[in-house]
């Protein structure tokens, strides 16, 4: 295997990386006009990367064990295109997050352009780096690769959080808040990374390889021994940090509150997606074909009749999912700060998606929990972005009328009367909040419906009830958003709000609200794409034949091939 074999999988990342470097170079320019190109170039980069991903990513059948992960090969293209699309929306929303004070000073002719104080290029290149890492996660076929991709996704976000408070003026009132958020996020993120890296190490210790395909074959032939199992559990807990799930959710509200709203929107999508892609891959190495009682002598062995994850993993994810949903929703009810509210809602949505992970693969869209997760990630990215966009657009008017001192709105009450004062934003908030609530016929409902159907298909009735009850609890706080925006009169006592001067933020909100409606009416193509993306290929005879037997129970692995879609053609001989 050479690097050239891998290229077809990496063109989008290569394009994105190339553009990222270019954006960084633009940032060295002494001219203000050139530096202003950073954002448009980032958009072009994402568009090209998306098209390249769509055109060049090999289909599920063309992936070989040597060139990429063959657990969920279809996921790569879906994830990359979705990341590019949501990335472009994010880019629109991120306009004006950095350099705003400088620009205002320049516009007011109070100061000249100072290349040293402009952070634009760094910000946008970190944004692109993060999305590059996210794309790399989808195609990871190795634990090391996966770890590096996850870190490439996360590290730039720490810096983005810190920068989002603005860097130029020390008088910026919430500068400290965003720095505090950034530091908190960084240390807890490092802790999370350490935990799942520790898990990866244990998995390596248990299986003797870091290659995901080989780990899968190893587990298929010999089952999970307790060392591998411990590794899996530890790694999954560590990944809970990325998806903001209980017990690693504590940072979420503080960080989202401290960061500027557009960056919070980015945080709610990017690390979460990375975490879920990694969780799907890790669970994919184990497969969803275990009986509840299939632990024999400290070893969990797949069974032809089994339909769930190994019991310890299933149990842990079950508890995490139920707790995450409940904690997120219950705490969200008590929030007054709109960003904290959306942060807890983001936690709750991670819980919903974990239900799909537990449900596992299936041969139709409605039965496949993995397809449900992949579809929901996109839905959540779109509808959550709209809600954050409204927060990003609305700003408190400063007392002296200057625009350089920016306060975002903070409390839900500041949304009051939005429908009357700013109908477009009012509608965006209403539609997105109702969609997040899961009210039919909006996108959120059709995102949640396959979670329901797949979980019932997998026999997780109790979890479905928990999911249903949580959807009802969520009504409390999403209705508050709707009510404030739509039904209440403007609050005379509240600080006057103005719209952010960056029209593209409003565009992002409108686009996402439109997406919520349009995708609900015509989302079948995406559902089908998600279904193809979620085709899970368990280990086959040919794959693990040469693999050394690591213990008893290797007979059972081969027979579970029949329970999911047909295995891909093997273009090359197993390279052992």
């Amino acid at each position: 295997m050479t690097l050239a074999d891998r290229l077809p999988f990496l063109w989008p990342e290569i394009v994105l990386f190339g553009f990222t470097c270019w954006v960084m170079m633009l940032g060295l320019s002494p001219h203000r006009a050139t530096r202003k190109l950073c954002a448009p170039f980032s958009g072009v980069a994402l568009a090209i990367a998306g098209i390249v991903a769509w055109q060049t990513t090999p289909g599920a059948g063309q992936v070989a064990r040597e060139t990429g992960q063959v657990l969920l090969p279809g996921m790569v293209m879906y994830a990359k295109v979705a990341i590019a699309v949501v990335g472009i929306l994010m880019l629109l929303l991120l306009a004006g997050t950095v350099d705003r004070a400088d620009e205002a000073e320049i516009a007011a002719r109070r100061q000249k352009f100072n290349p040293l104080s402009s952070n634009r290029a760094e910000f946008y290149s970190f944004f692109l780096f993060s999305l590059t890492g996210l794309m790399l996660c989808a195609g990871a076929d190795d634990l090391i690769w996966l770890f590096l991709a996850l870190e490439l996704t996360s590290l730039p976000t720490y810096i983005m959080v810190t920068m989002s408070g603005g860097s130029a003026g020390a008088w910026m009132p919430w500068r400290n808040k965003s720095q505090e958020a950034g530091v908190k996020y960084f240390f807890l993120g490092a802790l999370g990374a350490a935990v799942f890296l520790y898990g990866f190490a244990l998995i390596y210790g248990g299986t003797g390889t870091t290659n995901l395909n080989e780990i899968r074959d190893h587990i298929a032939s010999g089952g999970l021994d307790s060392l591998t199992m411990t590794g899996m559990l530890v790694a999954l807990v560590g990944l809970c940090f990325k998806i903001a799930a209980v017990p690693m959710h504590f940072y979420t509200a503080d960080v989202y509150e401290g960061a500027a709203a557009p960056v919070s929107a980015f945080l709610a999508f990017t690390p979460k997606t990375a975490g879920f892609l990694a969780i799907l891959l890790l669970c994919g190495t184990m497969g969803w074909s275990y009986m509840p009682e299939s632990a024999a002598g400290g070893r969990w062995v797949a069974d032809a009749a089994g339909t769930s994850l190994p019991e310890p993993v299933r149990l842990m994810l079950w508890v995490i999912a139920a707790l995450t949903m409940t904690v997120g929703n219950v705490l969200a009810i008590q929030q007054d700060s709109i960003k904290r509210l959306l942060a807890y809602s983001s936690i709750a949505h991670s819980g919903y998606m974990l239900v799909g992970v537990i449900a596992g693969p299936g041969e139709t869209f409605a039965k496949s929990g993995l397809a449900a997760v992949l579809f929901y990630l996109l839905c959540y990215g779109v509808m959550n972005l709209g809600a954050f966009a409204v927060v990003g657009v609305l700003e408190r008017a400063s007392k002296d009328g200057s625009t350089d001192q920016v306060h975002e709105i903070e409390t839900v009450d500041e949304l009051r009367g939005l429908m009357k004062t700013r109908p477009i934003l009012g509608w965006v908030m209403t539609i997105c909040a109702l969609s997040l609530l899961g009210l039919p016929p909006l996108l959120g409902f059709f995102g949640k419906a396959p979670l329901f159907t797949s979980a019932i298909s997998a026999g997780e009735i109790v979890l479905v009830v928990v999911l249903g009850v949580n959807s009802a609890i969520a009504a409390f706080y999403y209705l508050r958003l709707v009510r404030a925006a739509m039904l209440e009169s403007p609050d005379a006592a509240a600080p006057r709000t103005v719209e952010s001067p960056f029209a593209s933020r409003r565009t992002a909100g409108v686009l996402s609200a439109a997406g919520v409606v349009v995708l609900a009416l015509a989302g079948n193509g995406i559902m089908r794409a998600a279904q193809h993306a979620a085709e899970y290929l368990p280990a086959t005879d040919a794959a693990h034949e040469p693999a050394p037997a690591h213990g008893p129970g290797d007979h059972s692995a081969a027979s579970d091939a029949g329970h999911v879609v047909e295995a891909p053609p093997k273009p090359t001989t197993p390279g052992h």
Partner: protein
């Protein structure tokens, strides 16, 4: 056109709502009236092309693909029952627009727009032949109603709207779990005509016939939690009085006329066919709840002083009869129940309209401040007495037929398999039809009829007849303010109402000077031609249905017979000793004659649970 007429019925109000949003606000009522009238005309056309001789069959079916990956399609079709309810919805549409013309003065575009959307959603529920379409429309009725109550209601509207939304939303989420479970079960059966997941109601019903009874109980429980909240059935009714009282007149009319029927329709259309055996088993319990509702609602009405709240609680009692008839499970009870849905929509809708008219004039709903209005408003009083009589169940008016049929159904439903007290006696009675309840149920519920007569006649006696009492502070029409000596208190009440109106309509401080009286157009003492015009069709229908209900009975006959058969078969299966030769291959559980057929029953049960277990753990093809 004939093919897509049902979809048109949904699309037309939506299109008009969108159109309305772009037009100047002064045209809003006219556009809304045009939209609802056009929909009503299309409804008439639908009724004409519908083959009433085959009313038990779904007709005018049409399918538009929506999300095939999820098995969701825009699939519509109507049988006699749903078409009648569609017609009721469409009839109430223009009436609701007309009754709001003078009452709603603020944010009228929002108001009429959401009214049209609400109508589309309600129509959608009744015409849906796809579970998800049904659910989408069922849920989506919440949003317009939430907005109508919380923007245009009276003092307590915020709380009422939130309570309404949370109650029904929670209920329907649980119902969704039950519905999806049935769909999953059907997906596992892989019946002919289905491929994987589908939400086609026909397929689901065929598949649901195989649900083992123990599972049916869960499904029924989940569905009932959703639908009983909407009905509302006794312990879940607490949202209704508040919502009804606080809603604007048109909102109350729609709530009483159609939205509550979504619950009973859901039970009739989904809960019974999905879980007939469980329904047969738990019918006495449901009947008990509905009887408690009848008596409890009635007794609360008796002590009510708020006219609107009285009518609201009377809905709890009336819908109790409706559910009672349904739980009887025989043709006559089910027929009465379906007829009751329509009759209740007509007469209670009209009562809310009448109370709205009084409220517009006097700004009070307190019975202590209203009295003897016959002297002041003879036309209003005539209608009031008429609709109260219809609601009480005076023979010759519509309420009577359906109420008696419900009771008769419960009475005759001597169950030859269950817990009816006089089972064997009723068997011997001529004309007895097998069903689920027994004479005791009818006897106790019958007390409810008497209570209904008491509170409604008391209301009439006080408000229509009796000494003339009017609230002070209503100087229009040269009214003399009868000497009831409550002046100070009254004007306080009035000004609160006025202030709440001004605040409610949202324009903030600028509105404070607009008191209700000075802002509103001058209403004459008695009803205007417009108001008479919206009451007359309802009155005519009440009379017609009371005197000659046969065409309607004919129209619902077929569907009711099928449902009754379903219940009867399920119940009979349960009754027969398991393992006897005539038993269908369906799994049987809990046979009453346990001693003689225990072994075979157990075997049957084991077979059933193996099937169920296979279904639960395996999942088709996984």
């Amino acid at each position: 056109m004939a093919q897509s007429i049902l979809i048109l019925l949904i699309v037309v109000p939506l299109a008009f709502a969108a159109f309305l949003a772009w037009m100047p606000r002064k045209h809003a009522p006219a556009i809304a009236l045009m939209g609802t009238s056009l929909a009503a005309l299309l409804g008439v056309y639908t009724a004409l092309i519908f083959d009433w001789n085959l009313s038990g069959r779904f007709q005018l079916e049409n399918t538009v693909q929506w999300l095939p990956s999820l098995g969701v399609a825009l699939q519509v079709g109507v049988d006699g029952v749903s078409l009648l309810l569609v017609l009721l919805t469409l009839l109430l549409g223009p009436i609701c627009v007309l009754c709001s013309v003078t009452a709603i003065r603020e944010r009228i575009k929002t108001y009429y727009g959401w009214l049209l959307v609400l109508q589309a959603a309600m129509t959608g529920v009744f015409v849906a032949r796809d579970l998800i379409l049904f659910y989408v429309c069922f849920e989506f009725t919440l949003v317009p109603m939430f907005i109508l109550i919380s923007l245009y209601g009276s003092t307590n509207r915020r709380r009422a709207a939130i309570k309404f939304f949370l109650y029904t939303f929670t209920g329907s989420i649980i119902a969704l779990a039950g519905l999806v479970y049935v769909a999953w079960f059907a997906a596992g059966r892989a019946l002919p005509g289905s491929s994987g997941w589908t939400f086609d109601l026909d397929i689901l019903m065929r598949a649901a016939a195989e649900l083992p009874p123990s599972t049916q109980a869960w499904v029924l429980g989940a569905l009932l939690l959703g639908f009983a909240v909407k009905v509302p059935l006794f312990p879940l009714h607490t949202w209704l009085p508040l919502a009804h009282t606080e809603a604007p007149t048109a909102g109350s009319v729609i709530l009483a006329g159609v939205l509550l029927k979504l619950g009973t329709y859901g039970i009739f259309r989904l809960a019974i066919p999905f879980a007939p055996a469980a329904f047969a088993e738990y019918a006495p319990m449901l009947a008990g709840l509905s009887i408690v509702g009848i008596l409890y609602g009635g007794l609360i009405c008796w002590v009510q002083t708020d006219v609107k709240k009285l009518v609201a609680y009377s809905s709890v009692a009336h819908l109790g009869f409706c559910v009672l008839g349904m739980t009887a499970g025989n043709e006559i009870g089910l027929t009465g129940s379906v007829l009751y849905m329509i009759n209740h929509g007509l007469s209670t809708g009209a009562l809310f309209l009448l109370i709205g008219m009084i409220y517009e004039r006097y700004h009070t709903r307190d019975m202590a401040k209203l009295g003897g209005l016959a002297a002041r408003m003879p036309v209003w009083s005539t209608f009031m007495v008429f609709f109260v009589m219809a609601s009480v169940g005076l023979p010759g008016l519509n309420g009577f037929i359906s109420e008696v049929m419900c009771l008769l159904g419960a009475f005759q439903a001597s169950d030859n398999w269950g817990s009816g007290a006089w089972g064997s006696v009723a068997d011997a009675m001529p004309g007895a039809t097998p069903g689920l309840l027994g004479p005791w149920y009818a006897a106790i519920a019958g007390v409810g009829m008497i209570i209904a007569a008491m509170y409604l006649l008391q209301l009439t006696g006080k408000v229509v007849w009796g000494p003339l009492v009017e609230p002070t502070g209503h100087g229009h029409g040269g009214r003399d303010h009868g000497g009831h000596g409550l002046g100070g208190h009254d004007s306080a009440e009035h000004s609160t109402a006025a202030a709440s109106h001004a605040g409610g309509h949202g324009a903030g401080g600028a509105d404070a000077s607009h008191t209700a009286t000075s802002d509103k157009p001058h209403l004459p003492t008695d009803l205007t031609p417009r108001e008479i015009g919206i009451l007359v069709p309802l009155a005519v229908l009440c009379l017609a249905l009371g005197l000659y209900p046969k065409p309607v009975l004919y129209a619902i006959d077929g569907s009711v017979a099928q449902t009754a058969n379903l219940i009867r078969e399920a119940g009979a299966l349960k009754a027969r000793p398991a393992g006897s030769p005539q038993v269908e291959p369906a799994p049987v559980e809990g046979a009453p004659a346990e001693s003689d057929g225990k072994a075979s029953a157990m075997a049957e049960e084991a077979a059933g649970s193996v099937a169920a277990g296979d279904a639960v753990t395996g999942g088709p093809g996984r």
